[in-house]
Assembly symmetry: C2
Homo-oligomer: 784 residues x 2
């Protein structure tokens, strides 16, 4: 059911590389703040104005976030039960460092007073900065030209910087610039969300100390419960030919550097503000201030221009790696670039953090990491920027101990159970039927870990981290499932929830069983590999986790005997043991305004019907495509498509990819369109709370796995490309086993070119292709 | 699995009619307060001391409750969803009227100072009052004899009274008696129960006004959210030959009548305190004070002795009706009487209130009413005191509109869905898998309604209230279920939870489907009865609830085609569609201290296994016994018994009854023993929070339905008695169709005697028996 309509009017002008806002508008401000967010995978800054926002409270959220920096608070349950997570974790809105206030004599500049004679805001995705240019006439008639560039450094996770230029146009006189850090910050509180209210009863990031010395200022703050310490520092540098003096005001919870300048007409004044964040999650508390100072001094030494140059260089490599070019549709090109750019901005690259559901652009889902990372987002990085995917997997190793703990809480004698949503590794879900019950997260992680090893041959990672993850997750499956006489003594997995959250707590969820089988098989294979090729490391690991050889055999046995649901009559894979025994949802009598269903029906009502929020069996068909025949896939698609609402933004991309594979080209395109500009055009009406990172990565999947039909089965790469009707051509690059391959699809042919690396073998549809560095191979395009 | 052990030592001396405490003990005080609770189905007073309690805070709860008088507060969820109840309801601890303080000169009497030279507390269950007698020596050596009688009137729901006698033994001098009402009352707050904390942030029963005039005093209070008003009044009367003066102190939130008496040695002083409660739930707010005054004056006019006499008369009739006599086991006799007495004290008899899970003796389960009423408690009243059972059913009619509303919230276009737990009719459950999902509550109500009509021929009730309940519940089943092709187009009911709370959200719970079938059939039958015999009333009702004739046919069709699960291979009824496909719980490796499982395992872990908290299929076998063969019952019993933990106190009685039917006599007795003294000997270690009313009624079921094998199928009464090995004989009385029958079972024979009413027909085992008033029929006892 491809229900959702795609907008016809674009929110922002179409432009391949830039997002431009030509007019300031209160009504779209909350959304714009998300769209114009900057980030480097660690620091995230919403697109708030330096001078602050004077519009209605409910149209803005001044937000700055640090990946992995959170406060915890007890979760309140109407009725508690054993094993419910006691504490939640919420990404904190941290010290606001964006502030630069401007006074023309005694008139304070803001967008709500005086006149905006011109205005333009641009997010430069090729160069990696945000620019706001405007001409403002004060109520008293003084005109200034203001031009502000802001960047969050992709080269140094602790650094951000703002270049603020102001030029008096029709006067000479006093201009004051006040650059501040504000420690009085709170998370967003929204009416009707009692949770936020109870978790954060006011300010939880308490001020510990202030440091202030002319151009330098810093605040040390600490969270109440987690006791994390944060130092946010700034260093300011003024360039002007005019006289000025420097003052340090001392407002509550703030540090400021105030420049009072005797400005002259047409004489441009430039203030550069260097910003740095360090927290006790990375370093010892006593080092934080010194480290921040050091970062700021080095940045100042380098200067804004050099930092901007570094930003461009970083992005040049990124865009080279992540290239997806579409000819014939500017809106899509813009959408895809925007999505890729925000994925880069959101992704934690330090091995200790991950990528949140809303990136670092808003507070939706409390900054939690989900399976979205592995199943939706990580593949994008894996095939374009494998170094980053390694870091994401490294994070899963970091929280392995907590996953072991969680498994014990869930009564599993062995193994690890990864949390459904978390920041620091603890399960933070308050509703277990759609969280803890989603055991598939274990296999999701192993699935992409396997893909990672296959695509990179990174044996070092496997030996140091991967094998242990694979073994511990396999152990959990072995403990969770059982051989059920009533099911022909097959290995069954009871009481779990699959990806589809409109069906919960079922036996033998098809996706889960297939993925668990993969997990168990892979664990067995890796054990055998280690035993034969790295016996010392294997023995050490076995000793560390007290692994017995019998267990490895059990994994094999469970995998070989896994119950794989199949309905002979319909020739389809039932989503679970009872799915087909429920009535089908009455779609005909469900008006449009009752979607998403979860906001209008009690869970029991939804669970009682055959209705899917998102791809479930279909996701297995995609991820484990070599385990199913084309005919099976088609029958499954035909069965599940009409009963899926796509009330989850994780759904359309999977349907698009499968529709491409099955020749439903129109549908493939339609679903693709639901992902490509999901936030740019605010399809879900909630992008003001942050971007939809998984859906953004889904766009890439639609193109690369869908239109170009890329698959990697058993480490073997293949393509099966076609050209969507409306396009002239498209081109993209992927990395695989250290090579970089470019695929170019036009109306007539497919051209493969090995950009970099030794000879690469892959399949074009059923043909084996072998290609050397610099070489091109051409195939005529299949007809659709 | 008959796991729980029964105590060998009795908490209180064995005594057939009385509960006696021979020594005051801090360690058992909290429990004693429950055991010595008094109530009349409206007012409930815990067994607190008149002078207050000076022991450790955690060893006491000074509690007074009014049935149906509650405060509501928002329920806080970790994660909210559509249709979750927004507000909870909690029975309130109301104005404390028990207070009478005694001073000997300047020495305040309490049980923690001076010396207790003698002490005895007795609950007289035949007479209906509580007495405390003691001799106390003050620290300064003054001795007094104190004798206090307290009763809560069974004849007037608004009345309670205390007779307080004090006699100086070794001195003459000033004695002060202060009788008070205290409005500063709060519900119990226990560490680690965040719900209580958040719901009741301090005192929620606010003082509105005080009235005080010599011997009279009253407080008007109001709840914060529900805005219910309460007036508690007192009238005091002093009998003494000595001089005294009356003072009215005015402490905060209290009214007092203070008697300062020039007492003389050996001269007894008697203070009688009359207490009355009226609330805006029964009368207009402005009437409350006058009504309380009126009640108090009439009571004073009558005097304590007369009121006590009325109490005895009421109980004489009760015990005559509810007679269960056991010869050969004093402990059991005491246990059964205690249970019956507390059921009477707890049951709401005004048609507006019901019977809470803990009666009016404590705050466990927040004073909520559950299905316990219909399936466990109501049968006791139905066959002993049918007038009371009518009132309980009347309550369900009172909340029918709210049940209709709830059905709409749960997306049912028609019908009513009764709340799983409530006071005033709104669903108050915070965890839907073990509440809202327990749709069987609808059929439970109809089941006992049907039994009520069969046992009383109360057509008036059926026409006024019953039919509407039956139709609206049938409508809900019709809307809930559906004809499922994969199940041979049988009528299936998906996503519900049966009685067993260790298995949740399943398809075709056996109990639910059988009971729903009964509900639908009965609705059809009643519709036909009304159509033929009361066409005018029928048409009016049809119009009122917009009932179409097609619906009645649909009910029949659904009932006739109900899917009734049966496993041919095992010859048993599977609890639900997937129950038998789960692994059996590893009982062998579950140590005793891991029970009850729900306190030691996450719900998913429990749900994943074949393990039952309580009777589920077995309950259907009992309630709908004529739908199953003896062999089926036996196979089901043999299958489910080893996998049932009885972690619910609702379980053992059902197993006992079924064990009796199946000839498992030892087990029947063992399970019976787990119910008979459940609170007297505090089996569950939580009786301090209140008595277990359902389990108490279960004791009666064990004897009458179990040992005596009483059944009513299709309105036909039958018995199949045996004598438990350890007993000499037992005798009981039941009411049926206006007659009173006595059944007497001794070692040799069974004697039926019709005490009252016209000729009665029933079955003794397979023999038809016909008996006239005053007549006896004797049968030799079957051998076991």
């Amino acid at each position: 059911m491809a229900r959702k309509k795609v907008m016809k009017d674009w929110t922002y002008p179409l432009d391949e590389w830039n997002i431009v806002e030509e007019q300031f508008d209160i009504d779209t401000n909350f959304l714009d703040e998300t769209i114009f967010s900057l980030g480097n995978g660690y620091i995230g800054m919403r697109g708030n104005f330096e001078e602050g926002y004077y519009g209605p409270k409910e149209t803005s959220l001044d937000g700055t976030y640090l990946n992995g920096f959170y406060e915890s608070a007890p979760i309140s349950y109407g009725e508690e039960a054993y094993g419910y997570p006691k504490y939640g974790q919420t990404m904190l809105n941290v010290t606001n460092s964006k502030i630069i206030k401007l006074y023309i004599d005694d008139e304070e500049f803001n967008m709500f007073s005086g006149k905006l004679l011109s205005y333009r805001r641009t997010l430069y995705m090729k160069e990696g900065y945000l620019e706001r240019k405007l001409i403002w006439e004060s109520p008293k008639g003084k005109k200034v030209k203001i031009s502000i560039k802001r960047l969050v450094s992709l080269n140094n996770k602790h650094l951000a910087t703002i270049e603020y230029k102001v030029k008096p146009i029709n006067f000479s006189g006093k201009i004051t610039l006040i650059s501040s850090l504000d420690g009085n910050v709170k998370n967003h509180e929204e009416e009707g969300d009692p949770r936020v209210g109870s978790v954060f009863n006011g300010q939880v990031l308490k001020l510990i100390e202030k440091y202030q010395n002319k151009t330098f200022g810093a605040l040390k703050q600490q969270t109440v419960n987690t006791k994390f310490t944060l130092v946010c520092g700034m260093e300011n540098e003024l360039e002007t030919k005019n006289d000025f003096e420097i003052l340090n005001d001392n407002p509550d919870q703030m540090v400021t550097t105030k420049y009072v300048i005797n400005a002259e007409r047409e004489e441009e004044i430039t203030l550069v503000k260097y910003i740095s964040y360090y927290t006790s999650k990375d370093y010892k508390e006593k080092e934080l201030l010194e480290r921040a100072k050091d970062t700021l001094l080095k940045a100042k030494e380098k200067g804004f221009k050099e930092i901007l140059k570094g930003q461009k260089e970083f992005l040049e490599e990124f865009w080279n790696n992540a290239l997806v070019e579409i000819n014939g549709d500017k809106a899509l090109q813009q959408g895809i670039r925007f999505n890729q750019f925000h994925l880069l901005q959101s992704v934690g690259r330090d091995g200790k953090t991950n990528i949140a559901a809303k990136g670092l652009t808003g507070e939706g889902y409390e900054g939690h990491y989900f399976w979205d990372t592995e199943i939706y987002i990580l593949p994008f990085f894996l095939y374009t920027y494998p170094e980053i995917s390694r870091k994401l997997l490294r994070y899963r190793y970091k929280i392995l101990d907590k996953a072991r703990e969680r498994a014990r809480t869930m009564a599993h004698k062995k193994g690890a159970l990864y949390p459904w949503r978390t920041i620091d590794g603890d399960e933070c879900s308050a509703y277990y039927p759609a969280s803890t019950a989603q055991y598939h997260i274990n296999a999701d992680i192993v699935y992409v870990l396997k893909k990672y090893i296959e695509a990179t041959d990174d044996i070092d990672f496997l030996l140091k981290y991967g094998a242990e993850i694979v073994f511990e997750t396999a152990r959990l499956w072995a403990d969770l499932g059982s051989y059920i006489p009533n099911k022909g003594n097959k290995f069954c997995i009871d009481c779990v929830t699959g990806p589809d959250e409109y069906t919960a707590i079922v036996n033998n969820n098809c996706y889960t069983n297939y993925m668990a089988k993969m997990n168990l098989e892979y664990a067995h294979d890796i054990a055998k590999l280690l035993e034969n090729e790295y016996p010392k490391i294997y023995n050490k690991l076995k000793e560390k986790i007290n692994l017995k050889e019998e267990e490895v055999q059990e994994w094999k046995k469970a995998a070989d005997n896994m119950y794989l649901p199949y309905d002979k009559k319909l020739g389809i894979h039932p989503q679970d043991d009872t799915f087909l025994e429920k009535p089908i949802w009455d779609f005909e009598n469900t008006p449009d305004d009752k979607y998403p269903l979860l906001l209008h029906y009690h869970p029991l009502v939804i669970y009682r019907h055959q209705v899917c929020k998102q791809a479930d069996v279909l996701l297995a068909l995609f991820l484990l495509g070599d385990k199913f025949t084309w005919e099976e896939k088609k029958r499954d698609y035909d069965y599940y498509e009409p009963i899926t609402t796509h009330d989850s933004s994780l759904s359309p991309c999977i349907f698009s990819v499968m529709a491409s594979e099955l020749g439903y080209y129109d549908k493939a395109y339609e679903y693709f369109m639901q992902t490509a500009r999901v936030d740019l055009d605010n399809y879900h009406k909630n992008s003001h709370h942050g971007v939809h990172t998984a859906c953004m990565a889904g766009t890439w999947m639609c193109v690369i796995n869908g239109f170009a039909g890329m698959r990697v089965y058993d480490g073997k790469l293949s393509f099966n490309p076609y050209l969507p009707e409306k396009w002239d051509s498209y081109r993209f690059r992927v990395r695989f086993k250290g090579r970089q391959l470019e695929v170019n699809v036009n109306t007539k042919e497919v051209i493969y070119k090995l950009i970099d690396g030794n000879r690469l073998e892959f399949n074009h549809i059923d043909k084996k292709v072998s290609i050397n560095e610099g070489e091109e191979k051409r195939f005529s395009l299949k007809k659709i």
